[in-house]
């Protein structure tokens, strides 16, 4: 279709090459020696002043990792990663323990300002847009600041970096860390267990509804580093928490590795809502550079009527390998997965979910929207299974893929396994391009072609967007426009 001049300009400004978070912050940093052996693991553990049991845990994971092979089943292709050529720990050099924001390196604060992430509480409160989100900012390997801690403490909510939690709340960490994603889980999760450096920890006590949205902002800055963060969220009986995660990285020629692990534990009647906007650097037009995003995310509904909901907007990364899953152990528990995965340029996305029904009358819902453009490949890979004892299990799955251009690929690989007759599973998937009829209908009513496309695409992903918290929904909508409009025309 012929693009009007205005569109061409706009597209230019938002091309994949124009990744707007691609700047580098010049800051002195402290790194572990390049490579990975037991000493690296010990180095990281010592840097964090961790107790002996934690070091043992890491070393066990590391020994296990050495015996594992990198998985090859996903539809992603990349040159072999040399795990000995990475830095496993990088932290901004700092004075002894910053207690207030004033002690945080101003360069880092500037970075987050540039990214539009407010870290100064007073500013946030005085701001025109009164946002009420507590933020934990993770810069390369360490958490630099966590906001609103005091207010959360009043409610009994613990929100801090995981390294702080290991020191301050060892009993909680010991009880739950690795209980959802064990150190033996998979190649990348095991690697993460050995070398994870920071991440967020949330504990919401019994019956507490967390008074504000919690958020972590991950930023990779250093060159040649891998980022391995670990997030652990526990919602005790009857608790509720909504958690958001955002990620960006500078533009670099080489590929960087990001292997995170997220564990959610929802006890009886608890609810956890986990939202992600993933916008790591996707690489340039020729597919050079970009983040390899190999992430293990899993939630465990341990008690009756627990609920875990994953919402994700995936627009970044050169490669995404990510399957946020729910183990529905408690009776009447519920799992949800809402996803928009957009791939453009040379991006490769292999993402989906697992809903493992173990308890009685468990329900789950999967809504996945994949949009592939350029020469990208976008795969939905999901498992829905019902155990013999999971009577009355129900699942509804809907996967829609939209293809923009004839060089991209969209794939659907669902596994549906029912081991008892009372499980009712429904699955539907479609793949198509934007319907000419729909476009014609809109244009006949006076919309320009560009607006019509935007309308149709937005309409097709609306089911997912509406599950994002307000602040994120706006950002996500903009991101989708950016990721897509570069390809229409």
């Amino acid at each position: 279709m012929p693009a009007v001049q205005e569109t061409v300009e706009r597209v230019k400004s938002i091309d994949v090459d124009q990744y707007k978070y691609g700047f580098v912050t010049e800051i002195e940093s402290e790194k572990a020696p390049r490579g990975l052996d037991e000493d690296t693991v010990r180095f990281i553990s010592a840097k964090k002043n961790e107790p002996a049991w934690m070091l043992e845990w890491r070393l066990e994971a590391f020994r296990r990792w050495k015996t594992l092979q990198e998985p090859t089943w996903a539809r992603v292709h990349y040159p072999k990663i040399n795990y000995q050529d990475l830095y496993y720990y990088a932290a901004p050099k700092k004075k002894e323990g910053p207690t207030s924001l004033d002690e945080v390196d101003p360069e880092i604060l500037k970075t987050y300002e540039k990214l539009g992430i407010p870290l100064r509480e007073q500013e946030m409160l005085a701001g025109v847009q009164k946002s009420n989100v507590a933020v934990d900012a993770v810069f390369d390997s360490v958490s630099v600041v966590t906001t609103f801690k005091e207010e959360l403490r009043k409610a009994g909510v613990i929100f801090c970096s995981i390294s702080e939690a290991i020191r301050e709340h060892p009993e909680l960490v010991r009880q739950y860390l690795g209980s959802v994603v064990p150190i033996t889980d998979n190649f990348f999760a095991t690697l993460n267990s050995a070398v994870f450096s920071d991440g967020s920890f949330v504990y919401v006590p019994k019956g507490v509804r967390c008074p504000m949205e919690l958020s972590t902002y991950f930023r990779i800055n250093e060159q040649n580093t891998g980022q391995f963060e670990r997030t652990l969220i526990i919602a005790d009986e009857g608790a509720y928490v909504s958690y958001l995660e955002g990620c960006t990285a500078p533009m670099r020629d080489e590929n960087q590795l990001h292997a995170a692990v997220v564990e959610l534990v929802a006890l009886k009647d608890a609810e956890i809502k986990y939202s992600t906007i993933q916008n790591w650097y996707p690489g340039d037009k020729e597919g050079k550079g970009g983040i390899y995003n190999f992430v293990t995310k899993r939630g465990d509904c341990r008690g009756a009527r627990a609920k875990i909901s994953w919402t994700q907007v995936e627009t970044g990364s050169a490669i995404t390998w990510k399957y946020p899953s729910c183990i529905l152990r408690g009776d009447n528990s519920r799992g949800e997965f809402y996803s928009i995965a957009i791939s453009n340029g040379h991006q490769q996305v292999d993402s989906g979910t697992k809903m493992i029904h173990l308890g009685k009358n468990t329900t789950s819902r999967i809504i996945s929207k994949g949009i592939a453009a350029g020469v990208s490949n976008n795969t939905y890979r999901g498992l829905v299974s019902a155990n013999r004892r999971a009577t009355g299990a129900r699942n509804f799955t809907n996967c829609d893929s939209l293809l923009i251009g004839d060089k991209c690929g969209a794939h659907t690989v669902p596994y549906i396994e029912a081991k008892n007759s009372s499980a009712v599973f429904e699955h539907e998937a479609t793949t198509s391009k934007i319907s000419e009829d729909m476009l014609f209908y809109c244009m006949q009513r006076g919309l320009s072609q560009e607006d019509a496309v935007a309308l149709v695409v937005n309409g097709s992903v609306k089911d997912v967007l509406q599950h994002l918290p307000m602040e994120f929904a706006v950002e996500a909508q903009k991101l989708i426009a950016i990721s897509l409009e570069g390809s229409v025309g």
Binding site: V413, I416, N420, K433
Partner: protein, 442 residues
């Protein structure tokens, strides 16, 4: 697929390898066929039986399911013919019968007199001995990737039936290829068939499988179908093996420009079975339909794996799979629609439904889409569940007993794909088979 090194062989793999070794120099054929067999034998000896880490066989782990490999069946004698004759699973079907007993073509039990104009029927063993043009067509549709069942079949390539339908020929009667097993002790049989349907030809082919109950025989069968431009070709398949049998079969099809192809597989026999279909759209504007039913009870395990390659523009395909699973049976359907680059305007729909009639039944559905062209309409739907209580209630409220109501609902569920069979006689015969299955439901 993980190319892993597994030096330890299961007893079944060792027996199969020994069997291949023994057969190696006794099987007929010219250099071309010998080469094909050698390559397949080598591939099997290298990779062995598939296990659950091999994605295509994830749910049918032959390393675990096949404990032993019985010896090759001896060529059938008069006695075997007599036994086999009684086993025809579709005796009332009015068709030209071609009978294979233990994988060997039996002219005495086949109707090869007064062939219609344009129809040629040749036993594979004769084609191999004469190295005629048919023999050279064998293996043309083999995929590049390793498949244990097909490789084994090729390694033992020996007999079967070759059918050619000339350009423009329209067969008046269906052809029924009857695969029977005779003998009271476990044995293995291999058969390979080929059908070449010329341009503008029309044919209905029925293929059936049956054998004695209670004998743990193993059958490996493969058929290649080459359907020419504008041909109309219906293939109906009934797998009604004996309850202790292992059944592995492969169907490879290639369809030309504007051809119409329909495949109706019905699975109800064997302890463990796997039916693998690979269908390639080699021409533009072709139309394919797949409508199958699987009816299982006891501890039966049946796997239907289907791959459809849309390689040319303007193709249409419709797939419908229905499985009724009783007792502790396990029904597996893996279907993949693969739209290759350039296959624009493809319109493909796949639906797979499992009806679970018992708490211990198990259904697995893996409907995949793999799409590399943008101007397409592709979709799939999958459901699994028990009989709808609301529907049952409707019957009960009208005084129809539960058993009968269930039977009616199951019938309406499984009959849908069978009613699509265009040939009346074949349709009636298949519906009757489904009816018998229902009646036997306790």
């Amino acid at each position: 697929m993980n190319a892993e090194i597994r030096p330890i062989r299961t007893p079944a793999e060792q027996a199969l390898a020994a069997s291949i070794e023994a057969a190696r120099n006794t099987l007929p054929g010219a250099a071309g066929v010998k080469k094909l067999r050698e390559a397949a034998a080598e591939a099997f000896i290298r990779s062995g039986l598939p296990h659950r880490r091999v994605e295509e066989w994830k749910y049918t782990d032959l390393r675990a399911l096949v404990r032993e490999a019985p010896p090759l069946a001896a060529p059938p004698d008069k006695n075997a013919f007599e036994q086999a004759k009684k086993l025809d699973p579709l005796p009332r079907l009015d068709a030209r019968r071609l009978t294979l007993v233990n994988g060997a073509f039996v002219p005495e039990l086949s109707d090869i007199a007064s062939l219609e104009k344009g129809l040629t029927i040749v036993p594979l063993s004769r084609a191999l001995a004469e190295n005629n043009r048919f023999a050279q067509k064998i293996g043309e549709l083999h995929p590049d990737t390793y498949d244990a069942a097909l490789s084994l079949n090729t390694a033992f390539l020996n007999d079967g039936v070759l059918i050619e339908i000339a350009d423009g020929a329209k067969l008046l009667r269906p052809i029924h290829i009857v695969n029977l097993h005779a003998g009271g002790t476990p044995s293995s049989t291999y058969a390979r068939s080929l059908v070449v349907a010329g341009k503008n030809s029309e044919a209905v082919i029925v293929e059936s499988f049956a054998g004695p109950e209670g004998v743990a025989y193993q059958r490996n069968s493969a058929i290649e179908l080459q359907v020419g431009d504008k041909a109309s070709f219906d293939f109906i398949r009934l797998q009604a093996e004996g309850a202790a049998a292992l059944h592995l079969s492969t169907l490879l099809a290639k369809i030309g420009n504007d051809a119409k192809f329909a495949l109706y597989p019905v699975t109800q026999g064997a302890a463990v079975s796997r039916f693998s279909v690979t269908l390639r759209f080699a021409g533009k504007g072709a139309d394919a339909r797949f409508a199958g039913a699987t009816l299982l009870r006891g501890r039966q395990h049946a796997d239907t794996t289907m791959m459809i390659h849309h390689m040319m523009p303007n193709g249409t395909s419709r797939e419908l799979m229905k499985s009724a699973l009783d007792n502790e049976s396990r029904g597996i359907f893996q279907g993949r629609i693969n739209v290759h680059p350039g296959a624009q305007k493809t319109d493909a729909r796949m639906a797979t439904h499992a009806l679970m009639l018992s708490d211990k039944a198990e259904s697995v559905n893996k409907p995949e889409l793999e799409i590399f062209a943008d101007d397409v309409q592709c979709g799939h739907g999958a459901t699994s569940g028990a009989i709808d209580e609301a529907l049952l209630f409707y019957f009960l409220a009208r005084g129809i007993p539960r058993k009968e109501a269930e039977a009616l609902l199951i019938h309406s569920f499984v009959a849908e794909p069978l009613e699509m069979i265009a040939h009346e006689g074949a349709r009636e015969a298949m519906l009757a088979r489904a009816e018998d299955w229902l009646k036997a439901r306790s």
